[in-house]
């Protein structure tokens, strides 16, 4: 039967293995509840040591014993009012300096402290050698026990230290000598406190003096109500600030770190390179002042190689399924129901399947893009990209934080507009919102991919990369000009960014994020794009001249064709002055994906493919879908492999052969109906000019609405006017310049 009862508290920073040590000490003899009147969990356990009944209280994980959080107040009040026989301070040996801050505060409370130097195996792994005896001496004889909570190492020594502390109840004196000015004021306050017995009975005078100087919220006015003492504390704090230039709390905190630094320097030896981790070494290259940007561009180029080329076989497969079997089955089903040749069949095949399906075929493209970006994000590189781009932004006078909304703009412009709220100056917000529209959002990608693939085949990845890059350049140039004219304010503040260690991407997380982003695109296809496709079909079904019937009118003679013809001459100098192109661009004001959907409706309205004249055969179709899917997967693998030669072939003198798993020319046969139609209606130069226009022109209506909500109608009108003008000028320069340079019409 135990005869003596002692109370031990376990304190420590969060995530230092405190709970592991608590469990190892108390086993199953635990009780979990809440601290009285608080929602903070209180864990208590028991341990029997040679007739001593030890109650172990696990205090909440805290970094200090100030009054900044409820956990800190709970821990501090327990130590002050419950008078534990000893406090075991569990410290992470691998992050000793940070963890010793709490230890210094425990020592200032004048309670017996035992330091459990936990995770010492990890510290050794990092090349740190900690001399426990020297550390103990530096902490004025505080016992220091090396422990590894996960395997129980040091547990017996810790139990012995508990027994000794319980037996001796020896208290350690505060060991930190602060700056002379501070010590002078502390001594004065300490004297004043010692003259008030009600306080000395409850608090250690020096600790209370420190707390008064720190203006600790929980002490000043609550624990201490003596007006004279509080006034003396305020006067002392003012003298310190006027003499040193910093407030007392800063000097006290600084004094603790100076003390920790001297203790650690005598007790810890570390290899010269210990301060530089592997991530730091990688960052020396990836965030380098000169190489950082080219590396970022190379990685982006690889992302677009993957986006445009790797996804191409699956896009072709999906397109073949939608325009082939799906259209055939729909037509056959409607025919069987008696709707063959009706407006309903036209609506379903021309609006829903051609319009929405024409957009959905690009799901593999978006999956590839978001997968690649997800890998960069999860590996920790995206933070470096922001870091590298911050320098570029600063060069043109933009705030580094502006890049954060711009980065979001590569996915969707709407959240990018709202993300400008992180900028504190209204001018910076407006300027950044103005620029985010030039960051090519995911919705524009299908336009680039379908046109790029139609005209430039395997080089489409580079073309898409070039368009994204052009968007960034235009944004920076616009920002540079506006910063010097319209939005002049203070120079941007530099910031310091935490760079997390690099790690292998977690595929599950990457996939979850990829799907989350792609599913938004799919949802949009089923709502906004579906509605727009139906609206455009209706406009294309309404004849503008007598004689023609509803849904039986030639597209160019429809209301849509007639209206589009009105806008077409405007685009003639840019090389795409056709009603089809202008119609697609106007519909793109609703959502950028609609440009592709509209082109599908115009150029391939339920286009019967070679097999459509035959009666649909379910088994044949299913077999065909299965075999073509297998082929698409093989070609996808081939494109993945070919990223290597395509990348190396950039280097002059290298001409590495590309893999061809299924024999030459397989992909050439997989041109979609829309791609084929585009090559007949655009010249390559006009196609590039068209893509430049899509890149730069007015954002979608949801973005416009977000901008109006955030910045007002005037801002939006300027934005629309500027982007339309810039897009037109850009497209004309590309087309006319290309003609002058002899790239052909």
């Amino acid at each position: 039967m135990a005869s003596q009862v002692v109370k031990i508290a376990l304190a420590g920073n969060p995530n230092v293995g405190k709970s592991t040590i608590f469990n190892a000490l108390t086993g199953s003899r635990q009780h979990v509840g809440n601290w009285p009147g608080k929602t903070v969990e209180k864990k208590e356990g028991r341990l029997y040591l040679d007739g001593v009944d030890v109650i172990v209280v696990d205090l909440p994980g805290t970094y200090s014993l100030s009054a900044y959080s409820i956990e800190e107040i709970v821990s501090r009040e327990f130590i002050i009012h419950e008078h534990p026989d000893a406090v075991i301070a569990v410290v992470d040996a691998a992050n000793l300096e940070r963890n010793l801050y709490l230890v210094t505060q425990l020592l200032e409370l004048n309670v017996p402290v035992i330091v459990a130097l936990n995770m010492s195996d990890i510290a050794r792994g990092r090349g740190l050698t900690i001399d426990a005896a020297r550390l103990s001496a530096g902490l004025n004889g505080t016992p220091v026990i090396e422990t590894v909570g996960s395997n129980g190492l040091g547990l017996e020594a810790l139990k012995q230290a508990i027994q000794q502390a319980a037996a001796s109840r020896e208290q350690r004196r505060a060991v930190i000598a602060y700056d002379a000015v501070l010590e002078r004021e502390l001594a004065l306050l300490q004297n004043a406190i010692e003259a008030i017995p009600a306080l000395t009975q409850r608090y250690q005078p020096r600790w209370l003096a420190i707390k008064l100087l720190e203006n600790d919220e929980d002490i000043c006015g609550r624990a201490v109500t003596d007006d004279a003492l509080l006034a003396a504390a305020r006067a002392a704090a003012e003298r310190i600030e006027s003499e040193t230039g910093d407030d007392a709390e800063t000097w006290i905190t600084d004094g603790r770190y100076a003390f920790i630094s001297s203790v650690v320097s005598s007790a810890v030896s570390r290899p010269r390179e210990a301060l530089e981790t592997t991530s730091d070494k990688i960052d020396r290259i990836l965030t380098h002042r000169i190489y950082g940007l080219p590396i970022f561009l190379l990685l982006m180029w690889l992302v677009f190689q993957m986006t445009a080329n790797v996804s191409a076989p699956l896009v072709d497969w999906l397109d073949a399924v939608i325009s082939g079997p799906l259209t055939r089955w729909t037509a056959a089903l409607l025919g069987a129901l008696g709707f063959g040749g009706s407006w309903l069949e036209a609506l379903l095949t021309e609006a829903v399947i051609a319009g929405v399906g024409g957009v959905l075929v690009f799901v593999p493209v978006l999956i590839a893009l978001y997968l690649a970006i997800g890998v960069l994000e999860d590996s920790g590189y995206m933070a470096r990209a922001a870091f590298v781009m911050d320098r570029v932004m600063r060069l043109v006078g933009l705030h580094g934080k502006s890049f954060l909304p711009m980065l979001v703009g590569f996915g969707c412009t709407v959240p990018a507009v709202y993300a400008t709220r992180t900028l504190e100056h209204d001018d910076d917000r407006r300027l950044t919102a103005f620029l985010v529209t030039f960051m090519s959002c995911g919705a524009r990608l299908p336009v680039y991919v379908v046109i790029g693939t139609a005209f430039f085949g395997a080089s489409s990845g580079s073309l898409v990369f070039g368009l994204y890059l052009l968007g960034i350049v235009v944004a920076l140039a616009t920002g540079w000009a506006l910063k010097r004219t319209v939005y002049r304010n203070k120079p941007p503040q530099p910031f310091v960014m935490e760079l997390p260690p690099y790690r292998a991407p977690r595929l599950r997380d990457v996939w979850r994020q990829t799907w989350s982003r792609t599913s938004g695109f799919v949802r949009k296809a089923g709502t906004l794009i579906l509605a727009t496709s139906i609206g455009i079909w209706l406009l294309m079904a309404v004849p503008t001249s007598g004689g023609a019937q509803f849904s039986a009118v030639a597209p160019e003679a429809s209301l849509f064709g007639t209206l589009s013809k009105l806008a077409a001459p405007v685009f003639a100098p840019a090389g795409f002055g056709t009603w089809q192109a202008s119609g697609a661009l106007v519909s793109g004001l609703i959502a950028k994906e609609v440009v592709v959907g509209t082109m599908s409706q115009i150029y391939t309205p339920g286009t019967p493919d070679a097999d459509q004249s035959e009666a649909p055969n379910l088994l044949n179709d299913l077999a065909g879908i299965g075999s073509s899917f297998g082929e698409a997967l093989v070609l996808t693998a081939q494109e993945v492999v070919n990223i290597v030669p395509r990348t190396l072939n950039i280097v002059p003198g290298i001409n590495m052969a590309e893999a061809d798993f299924l024999g030459a020319g397989d992909q050439a046969d997989d041109t979609t109906a829309l791609e084929a139609a585009l090559t007949q209606n655009f010249t390559p130069l006009a196609a590039v000019a068209f893509m430049v226009f899509v890149l730069l022109y007015t954002p979608c209506m949801v973005t416009i609405s977000a901008m109006r909500h955030e910045f007002g109608r005037r801002f939006v009108l300027y934005q629309i006017a500027y982007t339309l003008m810039l897009a037109w000028i850009g497209a004309v320069i590309v087309y006319q310049g290309g003609l002058l340079l002899g790239f052909g019409g």
Binding site: Y68, N95, L96, E97, R98, N99, Y101, T244, G245, D246, T250, W251, T253, D254, Y257, A258, I260, S261, L275, S279, D280, D283, T287, R289, E377, M382, A383, F387, D390, R391, R394, K401, L404, P405, L407, V408, G411, C412, V414, P415, Y418, A419, R421, T422, E424, G442, Q493, P494, F495, V496, M497, E498, L499, Q513, G520, R523, K524, T527, V702, A706
Partner: protein, 99 residues
């Protein structure tokens, strides 16, 4: 007389180019964790400000404020200028509220 804590602020004031916490810790011969705590101290005192993107932006696309396009970048800090207002937090409601 300059405290090490003050030195952290001074480095923010001097910094003409963006820097990483790791780089600053190396320059100051500090553990990264200690620098982080020192920065937290100045954030509490209102001398530094944490910058970055919150998780939510808008609900216009039906993602109920959990926009998948928001890139979660690590924390970054900047100096607070005298008399400078706090930035508006990105709003989860996407419009209509007074934030």
């Amino acid at each position: 007389m300059t405290s090490q804590l003050r030195e952290v602020l001074n480095r923010f004031d001097e910094g003409a180019v963006p820097r990483s916490l790791n780089q600053m810790a190396r320059e100051m011969q500090l553990e990264l964790g200690v620098l982080q705590v020192m920065i937290d101290y100045w954030v509490r005192k209102g001398k530094l400000r944490e910058v970055g993107l919150a998780g939510n932006a808008c609900v216009t696309c039906g993602t109920n404020g959990h926009c998948p396009f928001i890139v979660n970048l690590p924390r970054a800090y900047e100096r607070v200028r005298e008399g400078e207002a706090e930035p508006n937090p990105p709003c989860a409601c996407g419009g209509g509220c007074s934030v």
